[in-house]
């Protein structure tokens, strides 16, 4: 199953919005949290429409609309979103109101907005799109499941164009809770030093990245999405190695065909050994890159990585800021993304669209 990446729309902690090339100006953070650089939403939404939308819904709609413009698409056949936490801000708001007012005088807006499929639903409402509309909410598999569904729809002939995206926000409360759970580094680091930091914990992030996937090739495609694989709680590094090899084999490839691997290395010394193992034992001869110093750690960061990989393939080059070590080959035909969030590991295979 494969699809052509026809358009992208990304809101991230980098200057990626409405941007068709990799930004020159790289943004950093010293606070262990990378926050999105957001557009003016009133450029996309009229005030009456936008008034009750939470931040994540606005992020989703804006990046979806820019993506469709980028793909020169007026109406998708299906809308699929992956979001692990959904409209967290509204969930917190409603919960706090329940507690503060002892279950009295509650208004429905934040409850309605907190419903997990609000992003997919609001995009459909905005576009008046009545096609297939799914929302996957499974931690580090949310975006990858959405991609799986999109590829299936295209394969089934149920759609020509699918709008698919990954989105999660980091609210102040959630950052605080994850801090208590020990996710973040105790010491403050500059995000550009993530690869060098050898301590427990990572840095927080957020983002929204949408794509138009098309069944058919065109002149303007970014790249081909050739394969998706989710791996739940691999038993060992050895088992992971076998799974990766089988995945490549299913796609008619060996590890020697992979020109670049983008690793979801997040600077957490407790868990980055998975990436180090794969880099040193599986893809020793491939170029390596990393991306979480640009977007931070969050459950749907795979969507940011996919945008990055697609852009690399379209432009035929790898931005120095994401390179991990020396570039191994001049050509760039196959890029593999190996990412994880907790025990949810995933592989995305992208190919050059010749």
């Amino acid at each position: 199953m494969k699809a052509y990446i026809r358009g992208t729309g990304v809101i991230s902690p980098q200057l990626t919005f409405n941007c068709t090339h990799f930004p020159d100006d790289i943004r950093e953070s010293d606070t262990n949290l990378l926050r999105c650089i957001e557009p003016s939403y009133l450029d996309f939404l009229n005030p009456v429409m936008a008034r009750r939308m939470g931040r994540v819904i606005k992020m989703g709609i804006a990046s979806a609309l820019i993506c469709m413009k980028n793909a020169r698409l007026d109406m998708p056949d299906a809308i699929i979103t992956g979001t692990a936490l959904g409209c967290l801000g509204d969930t917190e708001k409603f919960l706090k109101a329940i507690i503060a007012d002892d279950e009295q005088f509650l208004t429905p807006t934040s409850f309605i907005q907190s419903i997990q499929n609000s992003v997919s639903a609001q995009i459909a409402l905005h576009l008046n799109c009545t096609g297939h509309n799914f929302t996957f909410a499974h931690k580090g598999f949310s975006f990858e499941s959405a991609l799986r569904d999109a590829l299936m729809l295209l394969e089934e002939g149920e759609a020509q164009n699918v709008l698919v995206g990954g989105i999660d926000e980091m609210t102040d409360h959630n950052y605080f809770f994850y801090d208590k759970l020990g996710l973040w580094k105790k010491e403050k680091i500059n995000s550009s030093r993530l690869l060098q930091s050898d301590s427990p914990g990572t840095i927080g992030g957020e983002g929204s990245a949408f794509f138009v996937l098309n069944k058919n090739k065109s002149e303007d495609d970014y790249a081909i999405l050739a394969g998706v694989k989710t791996i739940y709680n691999p038993e060992s590094a050895g088992a992971l190695h076998i799974t990766i090899s089988e995945f490549l084999k299913d796609n008619g490839l060996g590890r020697e065909n992979i020109d670049l691997v983008l690793y979801g290395f997040n600077g957490d010394s407790r868990s980055d050994h998975w990436f180090t193992f794969v880099k040193e034992n599986v893809f020793m001869n491939s170029g390596a890159g990393y991306f979480k110093h640009l977007c931070g750690e969050y459950q749907t960061s795979g969507s940011f990585a996919m945008w990055l990989a697609a852009l690399c393939l379209k432009e035929g080059k790898v931005p120095p800021v994401i390179q991990w070590g020396k570039q191994k080959s001049e050509q760039l035909n196959h890029v593999l993304i190996y990412n994880k969030y907790g025990n949810n590991h995933s592989l995305l295979l992208l190919k050059k669209s010749s």
Binding site: D102, I112, Q116, L127, K139, R148
Partner: protein, 401 residues
């Protein structure tokens, strides 16, 4: 690849029973599970009618055979109970024999427990005794607990599209099997009651403080419920030589694109979802012997669903009932629970009644089935319509082998 998808097992827990057998007995006796809320306190307790499972969390742990100190959410535990039953009823003893996935669904996950500790979570000086319950808020938590409990590792995912969630899980699982990505899937959903959802629905003013009256002219709203329902879907190859319960012969998901919470007045989304389901195998509306309606008892849903059914079936509407006056509206679990009930109806050639009905809506004149009726059932249509315009329909048929 498999052109056909068979159902080989079912599992359920809800206000009317802890398993399939108890559920069937309650349906035959017209014994509703709607009553007063007992397991947690809320200001609105006296004004609520809910489909609550009476066993508190510690008894669910006993039922599961897990340690009393384990930090499982109620949603996860209900899911584990129903999924375990489904797997056992499908005669699956070796989970690794075929590529097996789980596609589950939930709307609020572990909110029922996390909401009790939210203030503590916000306190920087809290001793964090209950901190790990935060992770249960994640929709994936219950799916992974079920997967770990049953030993499923090949494919996991979770869908969250409000009240159509587990119907969507079922159709996604079936599509994966048809495309040869897995051989079998446990598909369905789970949800538990919480103050969050009670207050959320109260703020929308769509609850009935008495047992709900689906499709009745004087219906006032829905009753919230909790529970879990799962079915085991298998490919032709994986199910060879097994007892086939029935076949999934149609499915369809569309978006109504009308409003965040209300369906379009003429039921455009409902009509389109049902049509899409029929188109999968070219089944015609005349072949449907029973409709298990979404039928929440709200003014808006029952009208739009009723109009859509009229438009699709014309003068020949098959017998229909909503079983939500038995179980309550179990939110993300509804599609899975009602799939199990639809399959039960087919297994026993029995249509379950639409309780509390006395007068037809003037707009449609639809009269649902009001008593337990024996009728040959070859094909059932099951509807699940969610917030955000998410509209889904499933078709189950006797398997012609």
């Amino acid at each position: 690849m498999s052109s056909r998808v068979f159902i080989t097992g079912t599992g359920i827990i809800s206000a009317i029973g802890n398993n399939v057998e108890e559920t069937y007995a309650a349906l035959l006796k017209k014994k509703s599970g709607i009553g007063k809320l007992e397991n947690f306190s809320t200001r609105h307790r006296d004004h609520l009618a809910v489909g609550e499972i009476k066993e508190p969390d510690d008894l669910l742990k006993v039922r599961l055979g897990v340690n009393s100190s384990s930090r499982l959410s109620r949603t996860a535990m209900l899911g584990m109970i129903a999924a375990r039953e489904a797997l056992a009823s499908a005669g699956i003893s070796n989970i690794k024999q075929f590529r097996t996935g789980i596609i589950s669904a939930t709307s609020v996950g572990g909110m029922g427990i996390a909401e009790n500790h939210f203030t503590q979570y916000l306190d920087p000086d809290d001793d964090n005794e209950f901190l790990d319950y935060i992770n249960t808020l994640d929709c994936s938590d219950s799916t992974e607990r079920i997967a770990d409990f049953l030993g499923i590792t090949d494919y996991l995912s979770t869908i969250s599209t409000a009240c159509s969630s587990s119907a969507n899980s079922i159709m996604f699982g079936a599509r994966m099997i048809k495309l040869g990505l897995v051989d079998r899937v446990i598909a369905g959903g789970t949800d538990s009651l919480s103050r969050f959802t009670v207050n959320g629905f109260m703020s929308l003013k769509i609850l009935d403080n008495e047992p709900c009256k689906p499709f009745d002219a004087n219906r006032k709203g829905l009753n919230l419920g909790e529970g879990a329902g799962y079915i085991v879907l298998e490919s032709e190859n994986a199910s060879r030589g097994k007892n086939i319960v029935c076949e999934l012969t149609g499915y369809g998901n569309v978006n109504d694109a009308y409003h965040q919470t209300a369906s379009s007045p003429e039921g455009k989304g409902a009509f389109a979802a049902m049509q899409k389901a029929f188109a999968v195998n070219g089944i015609s509306p005349q072949q449907v012997d029973y409709i298990n309606a979404h039928g929440t008892g709200t003014e808006v849903n029952d009208l739009s669903e009723g109009l859509a059914i009229q438009k699709l079936f014309g003068a020949a509407i098959p017998p229909l009932s909503s079983t939500k006056a038995f179980t309550g509206h179990t939110l993300a679990a509804a599609g899975g629970i009602e799939a199990v009930l639809s399959i039960l109806a087919m297994q026993h050639d029995t249509i379950f009644p639409n309780l509390n009905f006395s007068e037809a809506m003037p707009e449609t004149g639809i009269v649902p089935v009001q008593s337990v009726i024996n009728k040959k059932i070859n094909t059932v249509l099951s509807n699940s319509f969610g917030f955000g315009g998410n509209t889904s329909s499933l078709l189950f048929s006797c398997a012609q082998l």
